[in-house]
């Protein structure tokens, strides 16, 4: 009872075979030329540019990193140099100070020495002068005394001469 009519979709019809071939082939060539070709090229181009951009970014990042490490190295070097310089400066200062101290001490000693000699010389000259003054004063005193007592006698004269002889400086 159930009866299937002409199941013609399974019978390839010449007209359909012909038209499908014609349409598909024309469609293929047109699409290749005007659609898929240009789209494929454009996609490839864009992907290429994206790839390039990514590569560039990566390279830039690497460069940055390199620069950073360089900077750090330089900084560390500078720090080291600074501490070295500080240390040197400290040493120099200490050296200078001690040298100055030494020099000052020497100079002071020298000055002291010369001062002592001067004082000695002054003392000597002062003593000599004092001796002369004291001698003159003593003579004057003696003259006065003698004038009073000795009135030209020879005894007195010899006494005086003896006395002058005894006067010794220092």
């Amino acid at each position: 009872m159930f009866f299937i009519a002409d199941f013609n979709v399974i019978k390839p019809d010449f007209g359909l075979l012909f038209w499908t071939s014609v349409i598909f082939l024309i469609f293929f060539f047109l699409m290749r030329k005007f659609a898929f070709g240009p789209i494929g090229d454009a996609l490839e181009k864009r992907e290429g540019s994206i790839r390039d951009a990514l590569d560039e970014a990566k390279a830039a990042r690497n460069e940055m990193e390199q620069m950073n490490s360089e900077n750090e190295r330089l900084l560390a070097e500078a720090r080291e140099e600074r501490s070295l310089m500080l240390k040197e400066a400290k040493e120099t200062r200490e050296r200078l100070v001690s040298e100055a101290k030494e020099d000052a001490k020497k100079e002071a000693n020298k000055i002291m020495d010369s001062a002592k000699q001067e004082i000695e010389a002054q003392k000597q000259s002062a003593m000599l002068e004092l001796k002369n003054q004291v001698g003159t004063m003593a003579i004057e005193i003696a003259e006065k005394v003698v004038r009073q007592t000795l009135k030209g006698d020879s005894a007195s004269e010899s006494l005086v001469n003896g006395l002058v002889k005894d006067i010794k400086l220092n």
């Binding site: 159930f2 009866f3 299937i4 009519a5 002409d6 199941f7 013609n8 979709v9 399974i10 019978k11 390839p12 019809d13 010449f14 007209g15 359909l16 075979l17 012909f18 038209w19 499908t20 071939s21 349409i23 598909f24 082939l25 024309i26 469609f27 293929f28 047109l30 699409m31 290749r32 005007f34 659609a35 898929f36 070709g37 240009p38 789209i39 494929g40 454009a42 996609l43 490839e44 864009r46 540019s49």
Partner: protein
């Protein structure tokens, strides 16, 4: 709740649309005397004397010669097959768009070209014309040839077309001048395997399927050329809109289909694979637009056969030395294995495109048929129009089941286009692969 209301609305829509489109049977009981040229024998006399009046009553002289055949009941299978078949008219709802008929009749002086309006199918039902033109008639959308040379070779009005079952085969007879004239169908290239073969004429008409292909290819061409233009005008910018949508699919085919199978040859075959994918996908989807003719292009073996043949040539023309060596010499196997392996490999060369052809054809045809049979529930449950509550119940069931099936078909449309393309890519990959042993 909203969904229920929505499906009821759809049910009514389906019912109305289908009733407009399909009259197989129920009209007979609803309106006595309603003429039915494609299935009924008892009322074709209306055409013979009353021209194209559909509502002409019974009676008339035609009844004697052509009227003793009882019309058969609504048959869901027949109905589905009618709708999946290619046709020489494009009917969208109640509108019949005439198409050019191009026939090659070797015995009657070569090519014949005329419009399908010559058959006056618009006055008939369901793509069945009420006139014969140069011994050709249109029966359910199919052009058929009257083999009897006594039939007039000009445009004449016919009384109808009667279908008679004989030994499990249905044959169409043209009822003209109180006589039945046998007809033959167009030649098909199946060499009799599926019951076709070479007959007296070849049909090169721009059929519904051919027109669908034209339209789909044109749409695809316009879409893709506008996208290609966008790549020029918006160079270096991110894609938007249509360009983005198409790009997703293009890059999918390139990265998931072409590159894995073809490697460095991918860019050479990419346009072919893309054309194949979008051609199949476009036609699969075109056939699923409801109330738009539902042309079953990729569900016709003629179309899938051409695609498979083109794939076959593409594979074998691009086959390198390594491929042919593998095919005919099966290197590295002992001689007794070669005896078995080589014929198998050579058979495989042809079986591969045949499976491509059958897979796509079967999937799409099956999907269309299932939906059509679900829609036929309206008539089956409604007992060909006698039971209105039954028809309403059928409409609800048909709508829900069809909606479900259509969603599946939407997936199938993509999957089958993808499968055809990925298999083609794999065959191309085998043919172009470099030796590595």
């Amino acid at each position: 709740m909203r969904h229920l209301v929505l499906s009821l609305v759809f049910s009514c829509f389906a019912l109305v649309a289908f009733a407009q489109h399909d009259h197989s049977g129920h009209d007979h009981s609803d309106h006595a005397g309603h003429n039915h040229a494609d299935h009924a024998g008892h009322d074709h006399a209306a055409h013979a004397d009353g021209g194209h009046d559909d509502h002409h009553g019974h009676g008339g002289h035609g009844e004697k010669a052509c009227g003793h055949y009882t019309h058969h009941e609504f048959n869901a299978g027949d109905n589905a097959i009618h709708h999946i078949s290619d046709a020489n008219v494009y009917s969208i709802g109640p509108f019949n768009i005439p198409l050019p008929v191009i026939l090659y009749v070797p015995n009657e002086g070569g090519f014949k070209m005329f419009s399908s309006t010559q058959f006056d199918h618009a006055s008939g039902h369901h793509g069945t014309g009420v006139r014969a033109h140069e011994r050709f008639v249109i029966d359910g959308g199919q052009v058929k040839h009257v083999t009897d040379s006594s039939f007039p070779n000009e445009n004449v009005a016919i009384s109808g077309i009667v279908h008679i079952k004989k030994d499990g085969k249905e044959e169409a007879f043209v009822c003209y001048n109180e006589k039945l004239y046998p007809t033959e169908v167009k030649s098909t290239a199946d060499a009799g395997i599926f019951g076709g073969g070479i007959t007296g004429y070849y049909d090169f008409s721009l059929t519904k399927n051919v027109v669908s292909m034209f339209i789909v290819c044109l749409i695809l061409f316009l879409l893709f050329t506008s996208a290609a233009k966008a790549y020029k005008t918006r160079e270096g910018k991110a894609p938007t809109g249509l360009q983005n949508l198409l790009e997703v699919m293009v890059t999918f085919i390139r990265d998931e289909v072409a590159v894995p199978f073809l490697g460095h040859n991918a860019s050479k075959f990419l346009p072919f694979l893309l054309t194949l994918f979008f051609f199949i996908l476009g036609l699969n989807l075109w056939g699923q637009v409801p109330f738009f003719g539902g042309s079953n292009v990729t569900g016709n073996i003629g179309v899938t056969a051409v695609l498979a043949i083109i794939t076959f040539f593409a594979v074998n023309f691009n086959g390198n030395k390594h491929y042919w060596e593998h095919l005919f010499a099966a290197p590295g196997t002992p001689w007794f294995v070669k005896i078995i392996l080589v014929p198998v490999e050579i058979m495989g060369m042809f079986i591969k495109p045949i499976t491509l052809m059958l897979r796509l054809f079967a999937n799409i045809t099956a999907g269309h048929m299932v939906i059509l049979i679900f829609v036929s529930f309206v008539f089956i449950f409604g007992n060909s129009g006698e039971s209105v509550p039954g028809a309403a119940g059928g409409a609800v069931a048909a709508t829900l089941l069809s909606l479900f099936m259509m969603s599946i078909e939407l997936i199938v449309a993509f999957v089958q286009a993808f499968v055809f393309t990925i298999l083609t890519a794999s065959y191309l990959g085998q043919a172009t692969e470099e030796a590595h042993h």
